[in-house]
């Protein structure tokens, strides 16, 4: 975990200093920060010190929650909070839906291998991870939002007009399209993986032995087979969550969803270096936590694995 964090820190810091120092890089961008902000950033980045000291200072600040000030003058950390929540609500909801729907579908598909339904499911799945997530979003926006007007096309909440009556339903209305897209892509991976693992597991001797002992098909499928097939799926879910977070910029930009991804894109385009660094670190932290949870879950599910 720690090496990963350090690795990201080094890379982020390195790129931020690619022009020699962050201030020059910021100036090369589109925005011209106020002198007060430049002053604050000069202090924050300790520009009077050599590079490696600057890195250590920056790391130290980071670990103490001081992420500096963005070009706009607002402190980075305070902006990140609401963005994180907005991103997480979308990601976690989609993840849950993908898992809850994906696992039974994958099991069904594996038990009806070569059937028409299985073929339909696997084809749909393969389309799911062959397409750019955001493009599906765009297409859905065109159809459901611009053409049919059933759903809002952007944002997480409306300013002037409340969709469907009240704030909660309004939020829900905004949530539908991006969640649909993210869930579909997540489903594609999960269904394929569960199906493949189940096919593998169902061929094992202990499944044959379980049947030979008279256990019901349901017990054999869920308690014996799935229980064995699920561990690698858990790992992939963790990795997938990390990947989804990494893909947040594109998806959130498409829907103007005001989360970390959207903010990252804007910050990177305007070369708001402190903001960019801050968001990268936060997202990395979330990915690391997700992986940690995944590792623990894997060890819990598979008694052959011990936690190191």
């Amino acid at each position: 975990m720690i090496p990963v964090f350090l690795g990201v820190a080094i890379l982020t810091f390195g790129v931020g200093n690619a022009a020699g120092n962050p201030i020059d890089l910021i100036r090369a961008g589109l925005k011209y920060p106020s002198p007060a902000v430049l002053e604050a950033l000069t202090r924050y980045y300790h520009l009077d010190r050599p590079v490696w000291e600057r890195f250590l200072y920056w790391l130290w600040d980071l670990l103490h929650g001081n992420l500096g000030v963005s070009i706009s003058g607002r402190p980075v950390l305070s902006q990140i909070g609401p963005w994180t929540i907005t991103t997480l609500e979308l990601q976690i909801l989609s993840l849950l839906l993908a898992v809850v729907i994906g696992i039974p579908v994958g099991v069904y598909s594996s038990k009806h291998q070569y059937s028409k339904m299985d073929y339909a499911i696997t084809t749909t799945a393969i389309f799911g991870y062959s397409m750019p997530t955001f493009w599906l979003g765009i297409m859905l926006i065109v159809v459901f939002s611009l053409d049919l007007g059933w759903l809002p096309s952007s944002g997480a909440a409306s300013v002037s007009y409340l969709w469907w009556g009240n704030p909660f339903l309004d939020w829900l209305a905004h949530l539908i399209l991006p969640t649909l897209v993210l869930t579909y892509v997540g489903l594609a991976t999960i269904v394929r993986l569960v199906r493949a693992n189940m096919l593998e597991v169902m061929r094992q001797d202990y499944i044959l032995a379980a049947r030979a002992s008279g256990l019901s098909e349901r017990t054999v499928t869920y308690r014996y087979a799935l229980r064995n097939a699920i561990s690698p799926v858990v790992t992939i879910i963790g990795l997938g969550f990390g990947a989804a977070l990494g893909g947040a910029p594109a998806l959130e930009t498409t829907f103007s969803w005001p989360g970390l991804g959207y903010a990252f894109t804007q910050a990177a385009l305007t070369l708001d270096i402190p903001l960019v660094e801050g968001i990268t670190i936060i997202i990395t932290l979330m990915v690391l936590i997700a992986n940690l949870i995944t590792d623990l879950a894997y060890a819990f599910l598979d008694p052959r694995v011990t936690i190191e």
């Binding site: 001797d205 044959l208 379980a210 030979a212 019901s216």
Partner: protein
């Protein structure tokens, strides 16, 4: 009055794979009398395991029983519903599989795997089932059974795992037990122990046992009658003693010659050739490509099972003429 417990008649079980139809069992007939141990002998691919799976009707996809009949204690198994079969699996018939490392579920403790079955077939509470499981482990000769009960399969040695697999198979006191190469994956020293255990348990439970193996030594030690299989078909059926002393099928002779003995002075004879392709099996007699006595008729026509004498059948065109070497008992 000798009662026939199991009557398999002209069984055909095929696997419908992408590469073609694998005729794993292609017309096998076997009769097993109650209380006896019979052997089902052959190389890998001969159809021995699939036969056992067919009786319990757990042949994995893409396999399917396509023809024949299986009667167990007078009842037709192939006409039973899946629910009815499930009630038989465990209390009436069971299998001990070859590799205990893969036949035990890696994610559950020994206790859970045993109690699952016990609670299903007998009306026991979890506590009662655990106690029964414990005594089962003791019965199969496992030391420190309390500890082993709570263990996971990967924490146990091969011999112990196989004993547990045997305990699992016997947990509901089945009438018929299939032992599918139960010792092949074990160390030689453990092999003898497990075979002794099986013999002892058979006597205790009064089970009828079908010993599936490729090892003629085990056949000699454990069985009373033997059926020799090759490429999904029956080559020869006889009492064990008769089979060993006066085999009538070239394949049987070759199998016997391939077993080394201490008194032997000549070189071991190897059966030339490979296991046949079960998708496109050889024409005529299925053994003809590897048979040193084969003639033209063997390529053209499949020999039917003919009676040599009471209780001894053979499927060979030339059994009357060939003078085959057996082994003195």
């Amino acid at each position: 009055m000798v009662e026939k417990l199991l009557e398999i008649s002209n069984l055909r079980t095929y696997f419908f794979t992408e590469a073609g139809v694998v005729k794993a069992v292609d017309g096998i007939s076997v009769e097993v009398n109650k209380g006896k141990t019979i052997g089902l002998v052959g190389e890998s691919g001969s159809g021995k395991s699939v036969t056992a799976q067919s009786v319990l009707r757990i042949v994995p996809r893409p396999g399917r029983i396509v023809d024949g009949s299986i009667r167990f204690a007078g009842e037709d198994l192939l006409s039973k519903s899946e629910n009815e079969m499930r009630k038989l699996r465990g209390p009436q018939m069971a299998i001990v599989f070859q590799d205990p490392t893969t036949s035990l579920n890696p994610v559950y403790t020994v206790e859970k795997q045993l109690t699952d079955i016990l609670m299903l077939h007998k009306d026991l509470t979890k506590a009662e089932a655990s106690k029964t499981a414990l005594s089962l482990l003791q019965h199969v000769g496992i030391q420190e059974p309390e500890k082993r009960l709570k263990a996971y399969p990967h924490e146990l040695s091969g011999g112990m795992k196989q004993r547990i697999a045997i305990a699992r198979a016997l947990s509901c006191e089945p009438t018929l037990l299939f032992a599918d190469e139960p010792t092949t994956n074990l160390d030689v020293t453990i092999q003898a122990q497990v075979l002794e255990l099986l013999k002892q348990l058979q006597k205790e439970y009064g089970m009828t046992m079908v010993m599936i193996t490729h090892d003629m030594g085990i056949v000699a030690d454990m069985t009373e009658r033997v059926t020799v299989l090759y490429a999904g078909k029956v080559m020869e059926v006889a009492d064990t003693h008769t089979l060993f002393t006066s085999p009538k099928h070239p394949y049987t002779e070759a199998l016997l010659k391939a077993v080394p003995s201490v008194k032997q002075t000549r070189a071991l004879e190897v059966i030339p050739g490979n296991i046949p392709n079960l998708i496109e099996p050889p024409t005529g007699c299925v053994f003809h490509p590897r048979c040193k006595y084969a003639k033209e008729i063997c390529v053209k026509s499949e020999p039917a099972l003919e009676k040599v004498e009471n209780g001894h059948d053979v499927a060979c065109h030339f059994w009357r003429d060939l003078k085959l070497e057996g082994r003195g008992r």
